[in-house]
């Protein structure tokens, strides 16, 4: 079995709609510098750098090559991962593998997106099969619309509940200095916002943001030398899903098997997590739309099927609540796509360190789950803990 891996440095930019004051490298360098400073290390202490970026989104071919100076990759080993929306989380997983292998003592993981410089929305269209569904041009929104519609049909959930979920995220985001959208919302505001694809409204969807997030990972030997307590990435699991769902839609016998359930069941089993709501203290779930929150809470087994909307109604998912979800404000408040997966892990780690400031959850936080979700229902799940 491999080396144990800890997060010893965390850094992220303040995420914004536009960062015309910096280019890609400069923006990345902000996050990298913050992470190194947080770790009390210099770039020479970093053995390898793992980058994630969706090249076509950025408009740059080989985007990692272009940011070598800013990310500190000069004369260092490293590579770039790209798995769509999960890219950031994949990069963390890749960094984890690098340290766990024993070949590297430390790794720097960097994810970023500079949406103001890239044709992200146009690029997203290229995620569709060119012959088959590029002409439909419905984008990611359609997926969440179907999700929301189905959930409302199967449970007592109503539009008000999705609106409340969004309000809670906004309240959380206002306590997060890095968050992009720090909106002061009421459920009325959400219900009045423009319909994109019913029942999904503008406010239910994540923004596109400019931002970067960096983590320094280290093995046990190096983590022990650190001043700040390490946060251990105890385990991780990735599951993708066949493309036919994305391509046209498989109508599966119910209940359909979801990548989330498959990944979770493996991870939970290995780590003795039998009652997730009790065994996990903080959840940084990657939910790009308020409507995704309900079915996914159930897939993560935070509650029984059909009950998630009730938990949201009771507001137990708040920062002060028993099952705090996305205390950072989540993807729906901040979404620099390439960084979002890294941000989930970073935010969860800050919670376990007790350094999340105004967004620190009230309950004692010793364990966390951080996830990333991507197109065609791909999932990466991390189990973080203060203890080995």
């Amino acid at each position: 079995m491999g080396e144990r891996v800890a997060i010893v440095g965390i850094g992220q930019t303040d995420h914004r709609f536009i960062r015309s004051d910096v280019n890609h490298e400069e923006m990345i360098n902000e996050a990298v510098s913050l992470a190194l400073e947080d770790a009390g290390l210099g770039i020479k202490d970093i053995d390898t750098v793992i980058i994630d970026n969706m090249d076509l989104f950025e408009g740059h071919y080989l985007a990692d090559g272009m940011v070598v100076d800013g990310a500190g990759m000069f004369l260092k080993p490293g590579l770039k991962m790209n798995t769509g929306g999960t890219s950031g989380a994949t990069a963390v997983a890749t960094g984890w593998q690098h340290v766990a292998s024993g070949v590297f003592d430390t790794a720097l993981v960097v994810g970023w997106q500079k949406q103001d410089a890239s044709p992200s929305i146009a690029s997203l269209v290229t995620a569709r099969e060119p012959f088959y569904d590029r002409g439909l041009a419905a984008g990611a929104v359609g997926i969440f619309a179907s999700m929301g519609l189905r959930y409302m049909q199967e449970t007592g959930c109503e539009e008000e509940h999705a609106a409340l979920a969004r309000v809670i995220m906004a309240d959380n985001a206002r306590r997060n200095p890095h968050a992009h959208l720090k909106l002061d919302l009421t459920t009325r505001d959400v219900l009045d916002s423009r319909v994109l694809v019913w029942p999904v409204r503008l406010l239910h969807m994540s923004p596109t943001s400019c931002g970067a997030c960096a983590l320094v990972l280290a093995n046990e030997k190096r983590a022990e030398k650190q001043e700040k307590p390490p946060v251990w990435i105890r385990d991780l699991e990735t599951a993708h899903r066949e493309v036919s769902v994305f391509r046209g839609g498989c109508v599966e016998p119910q209940p359909a098997v979801s990548a989330i359930e498959v990944a979770c069941s493996r991870l939970y089993k290995r780590n003795g997590i039998t009652k997730p709501a009790r065994d996990v203290d903080v959840w940084e779930l990657y939910t790009p739309s308020s409507w995704a929150l309900f079915p996914w809470m159930e897939l993560f087994h935070i509650c029984e099927k059909g009950e998630a909307w009730r938990l949201v109604e009771k507001e137990v998912i708040r920062i002060e609540g028993e099952i705090p979800i996305e205390p950072s404000g989540g993807v729906v408040s901040t979404n620099p796509i390439g960084a979002s997966g890294v941000i989930r892990v970073a935010e969860a780690a800050l919670q376990l360190r007790g350094e999340a400031g105004d967004r620190q959850v009230s309950k004692k936080a010793e364990t966390a789950i951080a996830t990333a979700w991507g197109a065609a229902s791909w999932i990466v799940v991390f189990f973080l803990s203060k203890h080995l």
Partner: protein, 155 residues
């Protein structure tokens, strides 16, 4: 030196000559003939629409036996698209509103077909309603998804 920030727009124009391959190719040729083809996994028996080379679950080659599906089916999900979206096909924002739907065609219980609905009135669309493909006249078909104009409601 004044502090004005410079920003330059640089277009990226990449044109791809897509190879449909034998499976998707057969599907598109089928559309031209007014037919909708799926293929079947020899192991799990699942239908794939459009036909694909490999079954993602069994990891076996799907083969080239084309199964013709009915033009009629049932709407299992739909959405009214109101927010315009960039359309790579026309190189511009696509006019709204339009309705997209997932339709299970008769004879194809494992797969849903994505296409547009003729009906644009939200009051008149519901899950479970029966629809039928409306093809262009044969002379106008080119072997693309546009050979089907949309699905009209069957009363």
């Amino acid at each position: 030196m004044n502090g004005e920030l410079l920003e330059i727009i640089i277009p990226l124009d990449l044109r791809y000559k897509w190879g449909a391959g034998p499976h998707l190719g057969a599907f598109l040729r089928g559309l031209k003939e007014g037919k909708i083809f799926a293929n079947r996994c020899p192991e799990c028996g699942r239908l794939q629409l459009p036909p694909t080379p490999v079954c993602g679950r069994c990891h076996v080659a799907m083969g080239e036996e084309w199964i013709e599906l009915s033009h009629q089916g049932e709407v299992i999900s739909y959405s009214f698209v109101v927010d315009p979206m960039y359309d790579a096909g026309i190189g511009d924002m696509r006019p709204v509103p339009y309705t997209i739907a997932a339709i299970v065609l008769d004879g194809g219980p494992d797969v849903a077909f994505f296409h547009k609905l003729e009906e644009e009135d939200p009051e008149k669309v519901q899950v479970g309603m029966r629809v039928e493909a409306v093809f262009r006249p044969p002379a106008e078909r080119e072997g693309t998804m546009e050979d089907i104009i949309h699905f009209r409601t069957v009363s």
